[in-house]
């Protein structure tokens, strides 16, 4: 098995483990973390599959998509954390 394929399979495994936690956990913070692990799995698959092209350098298009995705994932995580914190403090105040 080639190295890119192995990395892609690791990414798939990460994605699926995190998918389990997203559904199984009730705690918002754990869910947010699990979604982050899911996105890391997706990025790993994309970056690994970009290495299948012939030649010395990988396919730049998936790499550009991953860079975009990482920044969007970070901003979504921050928004989710603020929302979760708001939810908790709102519930505690009642």
């Amino acid at each position: 098995m080639s190295a890119p394929l192995l990395y892609a399979l690791v990414g798939v495994a990460l994605f699926c483990m995190a998918l389990h936690w997203v559904i199984a956990c009730a705690d918002p913070l754990r869910r947010i973390l699990a979604v982050n692990v899911m996105s890391s799995g997706v990025f790993l698959v994309l970056v690994a599959l970009a290495r299948r092209v012939p030649g010395p350098s990988p396919d730049p298009v998936p790499h550009a998509m991953v860079i975009t995705g990482i920044v969007v994932a970070v901003s979504a995580t921050a928004l989710a954390i603020v929302l979760a914190s708001r939810m908790r403090s709102g519930a505690a105040g009642r």
Binding site: P28, V53, D59, H63, M87
Partner: protein
């Protein structure tokens, strides 16, 4: 806590979930294994089009030119998230441990180096490894380090400059897009010969926006009250 009273899922639900995850895993693995071991990809197309945009870095060219719409929309997502977080955040910034001498000393040494590395990555991004996102992330980390060390609290000012900085990436892309409509043929179509200039300006604007947005997000999360220990204990008791 609304989620604190959620019932533990039964054995049936847990089995169904495990089955679902295993099915998804099997499907994804078979999809990955079905791919041909080598593929043409888009490397050749990107390489052939590189001379038209005046950069040697294929990733930068893809981000700022070939898939410019992606990055424009990403800037919109960043701005939207930053605005939402600023609207939602509450509470005060916790008092920073300005007395922490180790952190302050570390910040004194590291922050200039981080700023230098960010500037280098931004400058290098047009021709080689580097780029606006990496530079912005490192600059944001330098700001976070400063704030944690109790310095640089002026960075927390909520002035017009910060708001403009948050939006400058999106504004720059929209301006470049409209300029493309006027000068060249279509939205985000850079005029031949000017592409390198436009992309340099865009890279700086994107870096400023990314740095400020990431920094603002971190500070906003810091400002959120930490969930009480009681909530954590209740959470642990459920498991």
């Amino acid at each position: 806590m609304n989620d604190g009273h959620a019932k533990r899922p039964g054995r049936l639900a847990a089995t169904a979930l495990a089955l679902l995850v295993v099915l998804v895993f099997a499907g994804l693995v078979s999809a990955v294994l079905a791919l041909p071991p080598t593929a043409a990809g888009l490397s050749a197309d990107v390489g052939a089009a590189l001379p038209r945009v005046g950069t040697d870095n294929p990733v930068t060219a893809t981000l700022l030119a070939f898939r410019g719409y992606d990055t424009l929309l990403e800037m919109a997502v960043l701005l939207l998230a930053a605005v939402a977080i600023r609207a939602l955040r509450h509470g005060r910034l916790p008092v920073m441990r300005s007395g922490d001498e180790i952190l302050a000393a570390l910040a004194r040494v590291l922050v200039p180096v981080m700023v230098l590395v960010a500037a280098y990555l931004l400058a290098a991004g047009l021709d080689g490894p580097g780029g606006a996102f990496q530079a912005g992330a490192i600059a944001a980390a330098a700001g976070v380090l400063l704030v944690l060390a109790g310095r640089g609290l002026r960075l927390l000012d909520d002035g017009l400059a910060v708001r403009l900085g948050l939006a400058v990436g999106l504004l720059g892309f929209v301006a470049a897009g409209i300029a493309g409509m006027l000068v060249a043929s279509a939205f985000l179509d850079y005029a031949p010969g000017r592409a390198a200039t436009v992309m340099t300006l865009l890279e700086v604007a994107v870096a400023v926006s990314v740095a400020l947005t990431l920094f603002e997000m971190f500070v906003s999360v810091l400002r959120c009250p930490i969930p009480g220990k009681a909530a954590d204990a209740a959470d642990r008791g459920r498991r």
